[in-house]
């Protein structure tokens, strides 16, 4: 069936696929996950703060992001970020932002909405008695959060946060619409150049599957361990 296909094209392009493409994908995933979790945690705390304006603003942000397709959000930020940059720096003309920075900002802000929901559930899962006990010990709200609630919430939610990071890893392939050279972008460019679409896309699927499947198995193992500790 695969007689007229030439899989040697894969071997020849490995340095490009991994050295450039996969490095881009992994870097983007790692940075956006870190940023997304930090901003997402902030959003979750805002949403649970009970301060009318703050709660509402966080809710609107999260709901808006979760209602829109990622592809549309990628386009939004691609065009919006230069203007925001200009406004922030007081420049008269839109600021040129590198494609990588644009993608990083997009994924951080978009995924933060999803991380926020996970963290919100995590914070809400901590019994009220814990905050009461911390307050009774004389801790401030910030100390209670930082020393008591967040560490527990974070540990409870770690499997979910990691699963969401695997989703993010897959989602980064959508930078294809900006013609960036992530792993899929690199595979696609070789595919177009050499006319080897079947070989390259099958290979890309295989690599994504291997990475994500392995990662999800590890998360599952972690999950059972966390469950035992609790």
């Amino acid at each position: 069936m695969f007689a007229h296909f030439d899989f040697s094209v894969i071997g020849a392009s490995l340095p490009y696929l991994f050295g450039q493409g996969m490095v881009f994908t992994v870097t983007l995933t790692a940075l956006a996950a870190t940023g997304g979790i930090v901003f997402g945690t902030a959003l979750a705390m805002m949403r649970l703060s009970g301060i009318p304006g703050v709660t509402h603003a966080a809710k609107v942000y999260v709901e808006l992001m979760r209602s829109l397709p990622l592809v549309l959000v990628i386009f939004w930020f691609y065009f919006l970020v230069p203007y925001i940059g200009a406004w922030a720096t007081g420049s008269a003309t839109p600021i040129q932002v590198g494609a990588f920075s644009s993608a990083l900002i997009t994924f951080t802000l978009f995924e933060a909405a999803y991380f926020a929901e996970i963290m919100r559930a995590g914070i809400q899962s901590i019994p009220k008695g814990q905050t009461a006990a911390a307050s009774a010990l004389g801790m401030s709200y910030a100390q209670t959060m930082r020393l008591v609630v967040l560490p527990q919430a974070f540990r409870n939610m770690l499997p979910l946060l990691l699963t969401q990071t695997i989703v993010l890893f897959q989602d980064t392939s959508l930078v294809y619409v900006l013609s960036l050279t992530d792993f899929l972008g690199a595979a696609s460019k070789v595919a177009q150049r050499d006319g080897r679409l079947v070989e390259m896309y099958l290979f890309a699927a295989l690599v994504y599957f291997a990475v994500c499947f392995t990662a999800s198995l590890l998360v599952r193992r972690l999950q059972t361990r966390v469950a035992i500790i609790r």
Partner: protein, 240 residues
Amino acid sequence: MNYTWNWGIFQEPSPEGVGTYADMLLSGLSWTIATALASWVIAFTLGSVIGVLRTLPSRAANAVGTAYVELFRNVPLLVQMFLWYFVLPEILPAGLGTAVKQLPDAPFYTAVLCLGFFTASRVAEQVRAGIQSLPRGQRMAGTALGFTTAQTYRHVLLPNAYRIILPPLTSEFLNNLKNTSVALTIGLLELTARARSMQEFSFQVFEAFTAATLLYLVLNLVVVAGATLLERTVAVPGGR
């Protein structure tokens, strides 16, 4: 911000020759809705079957169900889209492959199949979770009354599981709706694609994206309202 807004742009004729930019976006909206609904039919049906497989007392059925879910969950949707669109016709027998490629509206059919199979893996997980959340005694009670396995699922387990998982199924439906935009990469002229071409032709980027955003928000609201209504209709009196 020195951007020149022009909200009148929607009334201007689109470069396609027929209709205005507004018509263009609305045509995109109808493709989005059509793709979302058609693929959901596949996703719901196939997903229910796979989900049930994973709860049957049979190792083989479990393995098939698990393999399906793992396969479709661990490959990015965009890559799956390319596999269906570029790879499948090439590995089909030559005649069939050519016929598939020449199909009118090929991007639409491809997107429907791709999203249907992709979302089925997520529906399957919800169905499995729903069935497993039912008390073990329910299956036993059905069995004890003489129901076959199929009857136990049909009359006891599934009606209850679907009621329990209605909220997560609603969000899977919404995810599926949003995911239709990924099909712009294979040339489906859905809402995001239309907003993008409007931006390219008219340079009124923010008007185009704002309009698309609002349309997606309205779609979300309609779906959520519909789901709430459905939830109320099927709610069991005195239910848990």
